[in-house]
């Protein structure tokens, strides 16, 4: 087994979930702030 490799893939699932949460969180954040400023504009 190579170094770092996760045998059952659970770390991969967790990592993907974290990435997904961060990415979608940032997208929502940018959309809310950008959208509101545009609306006020």
């Amino acid at each position: 087994m190579q170094i770092f490799v996760d045998a059952n893939g659970s770390r991969r699932v967790v990592a993907r979930l974290v990435s997904l949460t961060v990415a979608s969180g940032l997208i929502v954040f940018a959309a809310v702030v950008g959208g509101t400023l545009l609306e006020m504009w």
């Binding site: 996760d6 990415a23 809310v32 509101t36």
Partner: protein, 630 residues
């Protein structure tokens, strides 16, 4: 190979964008431009009715004094505030609203700048953050000038304020005189005091309040974020300086050693050598590689073992067809490079083994040079000098420069520190005893050469660098190919570093210098590089563009000079140096993307398989290849 993780790139790019917006917004709010004159509406008030309109605030010192004066006089006024001042003085702003005065907007950074609609949005956001409201009263109407910017005498100011017998009176709350004149005006007989309009503030929506919180945070903390970025850059600059200093130290040592070598030349050392070439689908290059080995001028026996690791393109056939004496071809089912190397090592009959890839061309003297450091019985491995054979095109030139200014210079510095972490797969030699000590080549990592070298060092053997042992290797010719190769190297190096992390606690050079060097220059520096790019971009777009250009140019000049020096140390022409500054635009970003991708792959625990580089056979054009390979 399973699909590499990608989602994190969206997060990183968005994160950088957000960070960039924060510092840009902060810089934007820190500048106070000249006030803008805007067209004012006419507002009719009944006779002997005064609407006191205060501008320039809220001010942390003078506005509270004015508010006290107004409260004592029982007068309600209108405060035309600017957005940045509201964020700077939230409690004063709240007090204005709490005491029943009307809040209106004058501008964002300065009075009258609401002609830019984005400024109006920012100013409303600032109000939404502090008061949870937004206002419909934007920009003051036509006003009676109280003269408080030009005169100090209260009598004059009162007279000027009342010159039309009523109306909206223009006053300022960013100075001491505001409270005094308000007190005097309140005493004026027969006057009624109103706010400019009777509008009630409108409740801000949740998104407006959230946006206000974000812009307010950016205005207040953008400087801190900028300091963090600056610290990261300072660390990167320090690392760069450290490397240059080590380079200078190396030059000194190098000169001294050369002088000593000239005075007392070492006797030429010739040991019989077994050359092991693991090859997987190297049909295009294998003949050139084997021929270049066979053309060696080594003064002792050279045995060549080609291990074909289950190639499907007839690599073994190409090697056998050559019919060269002393060349053995072994075929095995595909098991990976470490297994192929181990097969070759087991078959080898000599005590010194030269390991090279199936895409590498040796010069006639390379084997002889590689053997020399073994005269010292403590030396267990020797790294040769891998050079890029196909240097045509920008990508080839960049890689050539990187091999000289990056890998080879690193190797020279680390040689001086006695902790070379990688004897490259392209050109290296090992003592069989050292390989036996560490149990052969492991398949724990994708960088089996780094793993093996670290293991040999930890087992107590010395690893030497022989600059004169040159080998020409084929570099990837496409950006995609380069990314894949470097991804494997970088990920493999991290695997090897993690595997050998115990060395940090050992009393050997690998832990003392090797791992720390790799951490600093192969992990930390590439991680900080994007921040540097971001900072330069910020400097160009938002801050002082000429200064950013100067800093960037100095940094580039230093790096180019360092690369030029590395080329000189390696005995190379300085001509390709012109391509070095261009590296800053694509190549450098590619290299740090590789490091970031590798870190994420490690975190994900994804199983990566060997990624072979598409071979073109361009090595016949190599400076060292044309002579011997026909």
């Amino acid at each position: 190979m399973r699909r590499a993780p990608r989602l994190h790139w969206i997060s990183i790019l968005l994160g950088l964008l957000v960070l960039m917006s924060v510092v840009s917004f902060h810089a934007y709010t820190a500048i106070k431009p000249e006030p803008v004159q805007h067209a004012r509406e006419h507002r009719d008030l009944p006779d002997r009715t005064l609407a006191l309109a205060f501008h320039g605030g809220p001010d942390p010192k003078w506005t509270p004094r004015l508010l006290t004066a107004l409260r004592e006089s029982g007068v309600k006024a209108t405060f035309f505030v600017t957005g940045t001042q509201v964020t700077r003085n939230p409690s004063v702003t709240r007090r204005i609203a709490d005491e029943g005065h009307q809040i209106a907007l004058d501008g964002f950074r300065v009075e009258g700048d609401l002609g830019n609609p984005l400024n109006l949005a920012f100013a409303q956001a600032a109000l939404a953050d502090v008061l949870g409201t937004h206002t419909r009263l934007v920009g003051a109407p036509v006003e009676v000038d109280s003269g408080d910017r030009d005169y100090q005498d209260i009598g004059t100011l009162v007279r000027m304020s009342l010159q039309h017998g009523g109306g909206v009176v223009r006053l300022h709350d960013d100075g001491s005189i505001g409270a005094d004149i308000a007190r005097e005006l309140a005493k004026a007989p027969g006057y009624r005091f109103v706010t400019v309009t009777g509008d009630r503030p409108v409740e801000a929506t949740a998104t407006e309040r959230f946006t206000g919180a974000v812009t307010a945070w950016s205005q207040r903390n953008g400087g801190f974020v900028l300091t963090l970025l600056g610290t990261a850059i300072a660390i990167a600059a320090l690392l760069g300086l450290l490397r240059t200093l080590m380079q200078l130290g190396l030059a000194h040592t190098d000169r001294r050693l050369r002088r000593e070598g000239e005075q007392e030349p070492q006797p030429w050392f010739a040991l019989p050598v077994s050359v092991v070439i693991p090859a997987y689908n190297e049909a295009v290059n294998i003949a050139a590689t084997v021929k270049s080995i066979a053309a060696n001028n080594h003064c002792a026996d050279v045995e060549v073992i080609v291990v074909d690791d289950g190639s499907t393109d007839g690599t073994a056939d190409r090697a056998e067809e050559l019919g060269l004496p002393g060349v053995t071809v072994i075929r095995q089912a595909n098991q990976g490079k470490p297994a192929a190397l181990n097969t070759g090592i087991r078959q080898a009959k000599h005590d010194v083994l030269v390991l090279l890839d199936g895409d590498t061309i040796f010069e006639p003297g390379t084997i002889g040079e590689l053997v020399q450091p073994f005269a010292d019985s403590r030396v267990g491995a020797v790294s040769g000098n891998a050079k890029v054979g196909n240097r045509k095109g920008l990508l080839g030139r960049w890689q050539h420069l990187e091999y000289c200014a990056g890998s080879n210079l690193d190797r020279q510095i680390l040689h001086a520190l006695r902790c070379i972490p990688t004897v490259p797969g392209a050109v290296g030699a090992f003592r069989k005893a050292a390989l036996t000590d560490v149990g052969g080549v492991s398949d724990d990592t994708l960088a089996e050469d780094t793993d093996l070298t670290m293991a040999v060092t930890r087992a107590g053997w010395r690893v030497a660098y022989r600059q004169q042992a040159k080998a020409w290797t084929e570099a990837p010719t496409t950006v995609h190919g380069l990314f894949r190769q470097r991804y494997r190297w970088s990920y493999g190096t991290f695997q090897a570093m993690w595997k050998h992390r115990g060395a940090l606690l050992e009393n050997g050079p690998m832990g003392r210098f090797g791992l720390i060097y790799l951490l600093a220059f192969h992990l930390l520096l590439p991680m900080l590089a994007p921040v540097m790019d971001l900072y330069v971009l910020y400097g160009f777009l938002v801050a002082d563009a000429p200064l950013a250009l100067i800093v960037w140019a100095v940094f580039l000049l230093l790096q180019t000079a360092s690369a030029g020096y590395a080329l000189r140390l390696d005995g190379e022409s300085l001509k390709p140096l012109w391509a070095y500054p261009l590296q800053q635009i694509v190549y450098r970003q590619l290299m740090y993307a590789v490091v970031i991708q590798s870190l994420f792959t490690a975190w994900h625990g994804t199983q990566l398989k060997w990624m072979s580089v598409r071979r073109t056979g361009l090595l016949t054009d190599a400076p060292g290849g044309t002579v011997h390979v026909t």
